[in-house]
């Protein structure tokens, strides 16, 4: 439920309660006023009747329209009593509630009972009128609130909606994406925009420095690695070393090479994320797969792996050639590495998917984690655990689906594009 409807409903509910209470109060006030006015009217008539009595000194009971004067035998105390009574209404020809004034007046040394009555305004009539007018007012108010509410809120919430749109467009990865919020006179939105501006700036600069760090880290590592590698090689090339020393150096070189691969792979991941591989062209995937298989041919043969290939010709995709090569390299590399001697690899390329199936020992980890960085089936193995992370990144970049299945010591990686 959106804000406007919510506020409107709340307003409608509150105003309903207010109208109910207001109705009761209005009714009471009006009744009081009417009552007081009628009594005042009857009292005035009593005064006029008193003047008539003084002038005429009536001896007998006098009965006129809505007026009865009865001379009393004895002198009584003066008093005025109001009461309601039912009297036949002449025009309406039915009994109507009348207000009755019954007074004892002492005039010219005599007591008179004076009875005056008049048609009363009935509470029911007042109530009906009141309810009717209140309902009408309430309906007008309701209509006005809804119409004005929607118009005004559309206007007032405009800056808010514009802010939402601006946030939606904001991308962390796009360095040039400048988030600009609309100017607004509403203090709350001003604060919101200011806060969002600060927050996005902070997020962007944090992301930027993180990105720069990983870029620099993998890049800056290359030079020291190059220096160490050079030193080790110069050392190894001297002829004065014994076997143990040569082995030590070789082992250091070996480790260094892992470090080198690690930093290269991380740098590749970062560069894919930074969208640095943007030389997209139409690639003949069929011949690309063919070419790669050729590169791996000897490795496959040396491990006595039987290779079956099923390539549909002229399958084309739009991608960066380097990334395409990286993807195939990593997948084939895995298929060879995690295979047995005399194992099997099956490569199948169709119009919309590439499938590489290889035999090999069961995974020791959750297959879903396989695409995460540094996840590998055998933690002590020599592989870095970055190959499939790179593959995943490439697939994400081109919105391809990457799946892994395992059954009966057969591992299948499927890329659907």
């Amino acid at each position: 439920m959106n804000l406007i409807i919510r506020v409107t409903l709340l307003f409608v509910a509150v105003s309903l309660v207010v109208f109910l209470i207001g109705g009761v109060i209005s009714f009471n006030v009006m009744m009081g006023e009417v009552d007081a006015e009628q009594k005042r009217f009857l009292r005035e008539r009593l005064n006029r009747v008193s003047l008539i009595i003084e002038r005429r000194n009536p001896e007998d009971t006098l009965e006129r329209n809505k007026l009865t004067i009865i001379p009393l035998e004895t002198i009584s105390e003066e008093k005025v009593v109001f009461s309601d009574t039912l009297v036949m209404h002449a025009q309406l020809e039915r009994m109507e509630t009348h207000l009755k004034l019954e007074a004892i007046k002492n005039l010219n040394g005599k007591s008179y009972r004076v009875i005056i009555y008049d048609v009363i305004v009935e509470p029911d009539d007042i109530k009906d009128g009141l309810v009717e007018s209140l309902v009408k007012i309430y309906l007008i108010l309701l209509g006005a609130v809804i119409v004005v509410g929607f118009i005004v809120s559309a206007y007032m919430l405009r800056p808010f909606n514009l802010t939402l749109q601006a946030i939606k467009k904001f991308s962390l990865k796009d360095e040039d994406s400048v988030i600009s919020f609309p100017k607004t006179g509403i203090a709350e939105f001003k604060r919101l925009n200011q806060f969002l501006e600060e927050m996005t700036e902070k997020v962007k600069s944090d992301y930027q420095s993180l990105k720069e760090f990983s870029e620099n880290a993998s890049h800056e590592l290359q030079t020291p690695i190059a220096i160490i590698q050079g030193k080790l090689e110069v050392l190894l090339d001297s002829n004065k070393l014994d076997e143990d020393q040569v082995n030590q150096i070789s082992s250091a070189q070996h480790t260094l090479s892992r470090l080198k691969n690690l930093s290269t792979s991380l740098s590749i991941l970062t560069r894919i994320e930074n969208k640095e591989f943007d030389q997209v062209s139409s690639i003949n995937l069929s011949s690309q797969v063919d070419k790669m298989l050729n590169e791996f041919k000897e490795l496959i043969e040396l491990k006595s792996i039987s290779l079956t290939v099923e390539i549909q010709p002229h399958v084309k995709i739009d991608a960066d050639e380097v990334l395409c090569e990286l993807l195939l390299t990593n997948l084939l590399n895995n298929a060879v590495r995690h295979n047995w001697e005399n194992g099997a690899i099956h490569v199948s390329l169709q119009e919309d998917m590439l499938e590489i199936r290889n035999s090999g020992p069961d995974l020791e980890i959750d297959p879903n984690e396989l695409f995460h960085r540094f996840k590998k089936s055998n933690q002590s193995s020599n592989s870095l655990g970055l190959g499939l992370a790179i593959v995943k990144k490439i697939c994400d970049l081109y919105s391809c689906r990457l799946e892994y299945f395992q059954s009966d010591k057969q591992h299948t990686v499927k890329v659907s594009f």
């Binding site: 800056e220 290359q222 030079t223 110069v234 090339d237 070996h254 260094l256 090479s257 740098s267 590495r337």
Partner: protein
């Protein structure tokens, strides 16, 4: 062969200098754009080994200067910045090769030799070690004039040994040379062993001598003859 190394990392420069001075080649060293310009104007070099990132300038600019003034000089770019556009730009500007850091010195040696052969030996295409002759154009290998049937990798392997004579080639350097980015070196040691075994077999079968020495199980070296 006269080499000029332009590299601001002193330690790395020392290693390269050390490594290449040993074979009787002259390897001089400049650590900045300015020093390199001075040396280039003062002496003659066959091959320039150029780092792109220099403290006082961009190596690519130096490359332009070199190509303008000494077009016959071979240039190999070495850079820690393995950015694709740098590589392309360098090759576009006339560099002969691009080697990303870190690299094996034997690999650099092989690249230098290749450039040297192409540029200064005018594409001299036959390299020989006594009875073994390899033709770099046709990719054929003859032992006592008998054609050897080698696979592509075996040919590359033999060539690598030939250009790195008297150098110790570790299995790792060989693996990286043969498979480059395609393989993790660790996995391919067995493959290197297999290839060398096959290569030896083929050469000796054709009556050639096995010039390969195994060095403590770490690598191989072509015996000096």
């Amino acid at each position: 062969m006269k080499l000029l190394l332009v590299e601001d990392q002193v330690e790395l420069a020392n290693s390269i200098h050390n490594y290449f001075s040993r074979e009787g080649d002259v390897c001089e060293y400049a650590n900045s754009f300015t020093a390199a310009s001075e040396k280039l104007h003062g002496y003659q070099y066959d091959i320039l080994i150029l780092d792109i990132m220099l403290p006082d300038g961009n190596g690519l600019e130096l490359l332009e200067v070199v190509k303008r003034n000494w077009p016959e000089m071979g240039v190999i770019i070495i850079s820690a910045k393995n950015a694709l556009d740098d590589r392309l730009k360098g090759l576009d500007l006339g560099a002969d090769d691009y080697l990303p850091k870190p690299f094996h010195l034997v690999e650099l040696n092989a690249r230098i030799k290749a450039v040297f052969r192409r540029r200064l030996q005018k594409g001299e295409n036959v390299v020989a070690l006594n009875e073994i002759q390899i033709n770099l154009d046709t990719h054929e290998v003859h032992v006592h004039d008998q054609l050897l049937d080698l696979t592509k990798k075996e040919f590359e392997l033999l060539h690598y040994f030939f250009v790195n004579r008297k150098r110790l080639l570790t299995k790792q350097a060989i693996a990286e040379h043969l498979w480059g980015d395609y393989m993790d070196a660790a996995d391919s040691f067995d493959f290197v062993y297999q290839h060398i075994k096959n290569l030896r077999k083929k050469i000796t079968k054709a009556g050639g001598e096995d010039y390969l020495d195994t060095v403590y199980g770490v690598g191989y070296k072509v015996r000096s003859v």
